[in-house]
Amino acid sequence: MDDAPEDLRPLLPCRVDENVFARIYEENCGLLVSLAVRKFQVPTVDAEALAHEVFLSYLRHAGEVRDLHHWLIGAICNASRYYWRKHGRNIEQLDTDIAAERPDPRSRNILFDLPDNIALDEVLERMPPRWAQILRLRYLDGYSIKEIAEQQGVTSKYMQKLVGKCLHRAQEIFNGMRARKDQ
């Protein structure tokens, strides 16, 4: 008996019909485009093209790919990073290991302190685009954690941690700017 989870079985062990490929495309296209747009801020039109290229490149690897989703997600993440390297921007991907940690207490008063000290835009400018967007949504546009989580396609709990991490990063950037000014 083969008791491996369905996702881990080779999807394309040998010959398959075109319907299988159509299903792969339909079931995963939205996910790949969303990853490129949401996590890496790739413009939608380019994200569609990137996702399409990922599918096409998958065809020559299909026989050796054991976990389709793992492969496709790895491919779109790498493709998005490469896209930005070619377009001259560095994207820092979210790191949930750090996000899962308790937010630094030094960040607690950041919202009161920051506007008094620097232009918020200057800090946000120096942050990875997605992080800046999350802070804007939360503190400038007034969205709730739940609303931002829904919009970003993650859980509220995760978004809460993420906001903490974004604030911490903003504080670090701010401290760095202040240190440079003091020199």
Binding site: L31, L35, V37, E53, L56, S57, L59, R60, I73, G153
Partner: protein, 410 residues
């Protein structure tokens, strides 16, 4: 940059995948349908070509003299993805036993891939075909020790895939060959950076086999650079992946390498455990020569570090394993290693006995007369109390050099 856990989670959880993809990104349904149609049509084309081309390459190679293989590039039924896949497989099969034939096939493959009509496949697929062909050429050139040309070929492969962000996996496969070549040119720093980068890409694509392969090479280069703790850490990290893959050979090799790391860290107990694990793995696989080599390597290193008893025991096991495997010359060389230790310890009787055993074995196997004479001279020197460990090592070097000359002549 790390591949964060939420992305890892998406790969494993269908509910989160659905939620993540749901109603966020607006798209043009007609454009998406057209793309899907292109994807399924290319998929169908590749499958049909595979169905129609089974064994086509093997047949052509069999029916054509080797020196005319380059002319096969004109054959219409070899000018497609399926045939190129088969050529890549033929290169892989011949790499070890006939690298020159492998190179001829890789050249044929590169020549076909470079001259396919742009309309035959989407540009990203064409780039993959070209990248793979150049990578195969790089591998064979590396195998033939033509390292500069190998690097050039790998770079041609990189150029082929460079315009396509989606080809990170293909790019990493090509760069892995490049890094191995750089390592052989002793450009360790450059090689290590590429190994590390490739490992990351393979991990993100769930390609455990290549992840371990890149990691093994990276850890090896760390060890060479004397970064023993880093190398050890990486090998330790790779071990569960090799275990999960059921790759017993790699597990045994990792244990062997960890054994060397532990010796360098003066952790002799742990080293012995790792060497024993390596020997057990190679024994399970029936790799008798690897068992013997592992024992000999471990024995020599342990003795060099002053762990005479355990090292001596391993050398004896190694000699026994070489004898069982019918590797008379290696068994003899191992016997000389043991004789050196015995002389060092003042046990000349045992050293003479083993020298005599080696003479008898070499004679029975009809080995090189000069090798036999060298060991006879050693035995006679022991008889007159005129042999030191250095004398034995000299004889060892003579026997080994005679083997190298013999190997080169063949």
């Amino acid at each position: 940059m790390t591949h964060s856990d939420d992305v890892e989670h998406l790969a494993e959880c269908s509910a989160c995948r659905q939620r993540f993809a749901a109603n966020v990104v607006p798209f043009d349904p007609a454009a998406r349908r057209n793309r899907e149609r292109e994807f399924t049509s290319v998929a169908g084309k590749l499958e049909r070509e595979r169905d129609e081309s089974s064994d086509v390459v093997a047949r052509y190679l069999r029916d054509t003299p080797t020196d005319e293989w380059s002319r096969l590039a004109e054959m219409p039924d070899l000018r497609n993805n399926a045939a190129l896949e088969q050529m890549s497989e033929e290169v892989r099969r011949r790499l070890h036993r006939n690298p020159r034939e492998a190179l001829a096939i890789a050249n044929l493959s590169a020549s076909i891939a470079e001259s396919l009509a742009p309309s035959q496949y989407p540009s990203v697929v064409l780039a993959q075909l070209r990248g793979t062909a150049w990578k195969d050429r790089a591998s064979t050139l590396r195998y033939l020790a033509r390292y500069d040309e190998a690097l050039e070929a790998a770079e041609r492969g990189e150029e082929a895939v460079a315009p396509f962000p989606s080809l990170a996996h293909d790019r990493a496969i090509i760069r892995l060959v490049k890094a191995i070549t750089l390592g052989q040119l002793e450009r360790f720093e450059e090689a290590r950076a590429i190994f590390s980068e490739c490992r990351q890409v393979f991990r993100e694509h769930g390609d455990t086999k290549r992840y371990v392969q890149a990691g093994m090479a990276e850890a090896g280069s760390l060890y060479e650079a004397d970064r023993i703790d880093d190398a050890r850490k990486l090998w330790m990290d790779l071990l569960p992946h090799a275990t999960a893959e059921g790759d017993v050979e790699t597990q045994a090799r990792i244990h062997n390498n960890l054994g060397y790391c532990e010796i360098r860290r003066d952790e002799f107990g742990s080293a012995n455990i790792h060497f024993s694990e390596a020997v057990a793995g190679f024994t399970d696989l029936g790799y008798t020569s690897e068992v013997a080599r592992t024992e000999r390597g471990a024995g020599l290193v342990l003795i060099a570090r002053g762990q005479i008893t355990s090292g001596f025991a391993r050398l004896r096991d190694a000699r026994r394993a070489f004898t069982v495997a019918g590797m008379t010359e290696d068994a003899g060389l191992c016997g000389l290693n043991i004789a050196a230790v015995l002389i060092e310890r003042g046990d000349r009787t045992a050293a003479r006995a083993i020298a005599q055993d080696v003479i008898d074995e070499f004679t029975a196997a009809g080995m090189n007369e000069r090798a036999i004479s060298a060991v006879i001279a050693l035995r006679d020197a022991i008889d007159v109390d005129d042999a030191t460990a250095e004398t034995v090592n000299t004889v060892h070097a003579v026997v080994e050099s005679l083997r190298e000359i013999h190997d080169a002549a063949n």
